[in-house]
């Protein structure tokens, strides 16, 4: 609660109220918004105000209720109590479309696009441009290409969404919200799946919205972004408001502590001094047609190996190919024993676990409860004889919930009802349940709050401490640098460089990720 926040720079809510007294009706005001699902209260009595031309950040731990609040504001969910006011007038929205008509648009945390339609079709869905009643595909494709280019996305508007990378899908989703003139644009963790350049571009765009006097609600677990952008920061904890604070007065540490309500220790666990052990996973001449060409590397026992690169560098494809999820060729040795992996099952059985970056479409059965999701890759462990032991599953779930600090209001919810970050934790638990000796995690902390990030990092460090090897694919350079012992950088389907120790700096990684090998190596001074 706010009462223990006595440091002076953390200005309590009232300050905010006085500051806006002169400006009359604000753009959007919520009054006592609450949401219950059955007996469970996920949001209670939230009142916030957003001014035109203001960037208002909402932060909070996973499951704090941020996305729920945004859905209430933008017509996706009906409030159980409370009301909305736009420019002083009471409003209520039966559908998201009504909210859009009133000038409010939400960019979802989860990708919500029809993947059987093209990029341009998705972009203009429900508001197609027509000429004489005929849809004007050429113009829509043109505008789509332009809008996406502004965001730094260069996929062809004619491609099916199912064929484009996750980051590009997210950009399409963002572009959708920028297509019309809205009064209030809500971004729910827009940068979770984006990499450095794209993030910069997006932040730019957010600032330009502000310049155009548009209100922005911005949710992110990347507190540096919040710090750079926010005029005001509202902190939610466990469904309740902690307070609203003027943005620039808070340090990242302050924000984190407001979110969790206690003091935090360091984000990254100390790296081990022990030298990396034996080579564990050796990959030679891996080729994934169309994406990756002739890649070789080795991951050692007790080592956290990072993979950096720009979107489309082919990291995901490389590992999906290695674990049998897409056609690929490679020579793989695990502890010196050659492996022939033709399916994910064989990879799991061999002790290689891969955690997908696309938790929603490929990771979890959203309509299914948590226990069956948790155990899906490791059913054998719960099936000692004739039948599945549900009690063991329940026990495993309880353990996972405790170990990974999965926040849920009831054990009966489905995976889809978990907050985004908690879905990610469930997915992590699911993969680790197969007890892999090599753990490949594609974007381990996507959408995870800062406190839980620290937990996950500690956890990964503990895993390698137990003699496993861990490969972390991440688009957050900070994360790779803080966590990994060694980082490989991919560029256009090849490994373009490798850094370790002192050389693990953002500059070096960015160089390898963008420039071709000679230039990169020259700058870093040879491979480590």
């Amino acid at each position: 609660m706010a009462d223990n926040l006595d440091r002076e720079r953390m200005v309590p809510r009232d300050a905010n109220a006085t500051s806006k007294a002169a400006s009359g009706a604000c753009l959007l005001r919520t009054r006592g918004l609450s949401k219950q699902y059955g007996p469970v209260t996920v949001l209670s009595n939230v009142s916030i105000e957003i001014e035109a031309g203001e960037i208002h950040a909402i932060i909070g731990e996973n499951g704090a209720g941020k996305s729920t609040l945004m859905r209430l504001i933008s017509g996706y969910v009906d409030p159980s109590a409370g009301s909305l006011e736009i420019e002083g007038h009471a409003v209520s929205f039966a559908t998201p479309h009504e909210a859009q008509d009133a000038g409010i648009v939400l960019v979802h945390q989860e990708i919500l696009l029809a993947d059987g339609l093209t990029v341009a079709e998705n972009l203009f869905l429900g508001r197609e441009l027509t000429r004489n009643g005929v849809v004007d595909d050429r113009r829509m494709q043109q505008i789509a290409a332009d809008k996406l280019a502004e965001l730094g996305c260069h996929v062809s508007p004619n491609r099916l969404v199912r064929d484009v990378a996750l980051a590009d899908r997210q950009l399409v989703q963002i572009a959708r919200a920028l297509l019309d003139d809205y009064k209030l644009v809500i971004f729910d963790e827009p940068t979770a799946v984006l990499t450095g350049n794209e993030v910069e571009r997006l932040l730019d765009i957010v600032l330009r919205l502000k310049e155009r006097n548009i209100g922005v609600l911005y949710i992110s677990h990347r507190l540096d972004e919040v710090q750079r952008l926010a005029d005001k920061v509202t902190v939610l904890r466990d469904g309740k408001m902690v307070g609203t604070y003027p943005g620039r007065t808070l340090s990242q540490m302050d924000m984190a502590e407001l979110m969790v309500g206690r003091e935090l220790s360091a984000l990254y666990p100390p790296k081990s001094d022990a030298k990396p052990g034996e080579p564990m996973l050796r990959v030679m001449n891996a080729t994934v047609p169309g994406y990756v060409e002739d890649v070789s590397f080795t991951a050692h026992k007790g080592e956290i190996l990072g993979l950096a690169g720009m979107v489309g560098a082919g990291r995901t494809e490389l590992f999906e190919g290695l674990v049998g999820l897409r056609p690929a060729s490679a020579r793989i040795e695990l502890n010196g024993v050659p492996l022939h992996i033709r399916s994910q099952r064989e990879a799991i059985d061999a002790g290689i676990g891969y955690l997908t970056e696309d938790r929603k479409a490929k990771g979890l059965l959203l309509q299914e409860r948590l226990a069956p999701n948790l155990t899906l890759s490791a059913l054998g462990r719960f099936h000692p004889g004739l039948y599945l032991r549900k009690r063991r599953e329940t026990a495993a779930l309880a353990e996972a919930v405790a170990q990974y600090d999965i926040r849920l209001k009831s054990l009966k919810v489905t995976a889809g009802q978990l907050s985004g970050g908690n879905q990610q934790k469930l997915l992590l638990a699911k993969i680790l349940l197969t007890d892999p000796s090599v753990v490949i995690i594609d974007e381990p902390t996507r959408g995870i709050d800062i406190a839980n990030k620290a937990q996950i990092y500690t956890f990964i460090r503990k895993l390698v401490g137990q003699g496993k090897a861990c490969i972390v694919i991440s688009s957050e350079m900070q994360e790779l640098i803080g966590l990994c012992d060694r980082i490989l950088i991919m560029r256009q389907g090849r490994i373009n460089g490798e850094v370790s120790g002192e050389q693990m700096t953002e500059t070096n990684i960015a160089l390898f990720a963008t420039a071709d090998t000679e230039g990169g190596q020259a700058a870093v001074g040879g491979r480590a």
Partner: protein, 330 residues
């Protein structure tokens, strides 16, 4: 209902006239023509092909409607009995009017057919969307209802069209314009209009969106209820048009008119490249699918080496092979 593991990326129809996504079924069609020619050279005779394509017009027209329904995420099993029902109503109406209106009873009857079709489609649509009943079951129900109504109307027998109208009506099936049989022209017109609607209007987009991802469509302000209901209404109109062309061919409505057409219609749509689970529809592929089905049946009659008892087996095998060609060509 979903399909197999690696759903091949289907490309997007660019122009409403023709698209590469539809090429698969046309390849299968070409393969079939070649095989047919090898089996019996008469197969490629103009008369034979014109007969077969004319015949496939009914299924093609209905299947064009089904492409809307399936694309929007629905399914309609009632089309065959709906066709029988519409034919029955239309003939009864024409016969009743013939004494006073003479040949004018025919166009009037066509209007009645269309109205009935729209009403039947609307009924299906409303049950499925407002009643929120799985389309398979809802339209299985209405299939029974339409079938029973035609049986009831005909007292279990047949409803023949009045002799005085017969000759005047004949050209609708048997006539030609510029040497091309009228049913073929009608089905081309229906397909052309349909692909315009599906690929060139807002409604078409809504349809594909509703079938591709209901939630996304809903969030984009698309009313699933309205979109899908309209698809069923379009289906009703198509069934009516098919029925109008059909009357002169058989001259009567009977309780067995249109039995099992639904299976042929759905098969035509799927062979044509539209996925049963919804999404993008392929109108011209559907038309090709309908022709393929009719050609297979024709081939069975023209070839002599298949035992009468095994015809269905050979047809089954050919359909499966056609699907493999289609998939392979992607």
């Amino acid at each position: 209902m979903s399909t197999v593991t690696q759903s091949a990326p289907s490309r997007r129809p660019r122009d409403f006239a023709f698209s590469w996504a539809d090429a698969g079924p046309f390849l299968a069609l070409a393969a079939l023509l070649v095989i047919g020619f090898l089996v019996n050279p008469d197969f490629l005779s103009v008369t034979n092909l014109s007969n077969v394509i004319t015949r496939s017009a009914f299924i093609a027209i209905i299947a064009v409607g089904a492409t809307f329904v399936i694309s929007s995420g629905g399914l309609d099993l009632s089309v065959g009995s709906m066709a029988a029902f519409i034919t029955g109503i239309t003939i009864l109406f024409m016969n009743a009017m013939a004494p006073s209106w003479g040949a004018w009873a025919i166009p009037a009857g066509m209007v009645v057919a269309l109205m009935t079709g729209l009403a039947c489609g609307l009924a299906n649509g409303v049950i499925v969307t407002v009643g929120k009943i799985e389309p398979f079951i809802a339209t299985l129900g209405t299939m029974g209802i339409f079938r029973a109504l035609i049986t009831y109307m005909s007292d279990g027998g047949t409803i023949p069209i009045d002799r005085t109208l017969r000759e005047a009506y004949r050209p609708v099936y048997f006539g030609t314009v510029g040497g091309i049989p009228i049913p073929i022209l009608v089905s081309l017109a229906v397909a052309a209009i349909a692909s315009f609607i599906l690929y060139k209007t807002k409604y078409g987009r809504k349809c594909a969106a509703a079938g591709a991802n209901e939630d996304v469509a809903r969030y984009s302000g698309i009313s699933i209820v309205r979109t899908r209901t309209i698809a069923y209404v379009v289906q009703g109109a198509c069934v009516a048009i098919a029925a109008i062309c059909y009357v002169p061919r058989l001259g009567a409505a009977t309780p067995t008119t249109g039995v099992l057409w639904e299976l042929q219609v759905i098969t035509a749509v799927v062979i044509g490249g539209t996925a049963l689970r919804g999404g993008k529809g392929h109108i011209w592929g559907t038309v090709a699918g309908a022709v393929i089905l009719e050609l297979i049946a024709n081939l069975m009659v023209l070839s002599d080496f298949v035992s009468e008892y095994l015809v269905a087996a050979v047809q089954g095998v050919i359909i499966i092979i056609a699907m493999l060609i289609q998939r392979f060509s992607k």
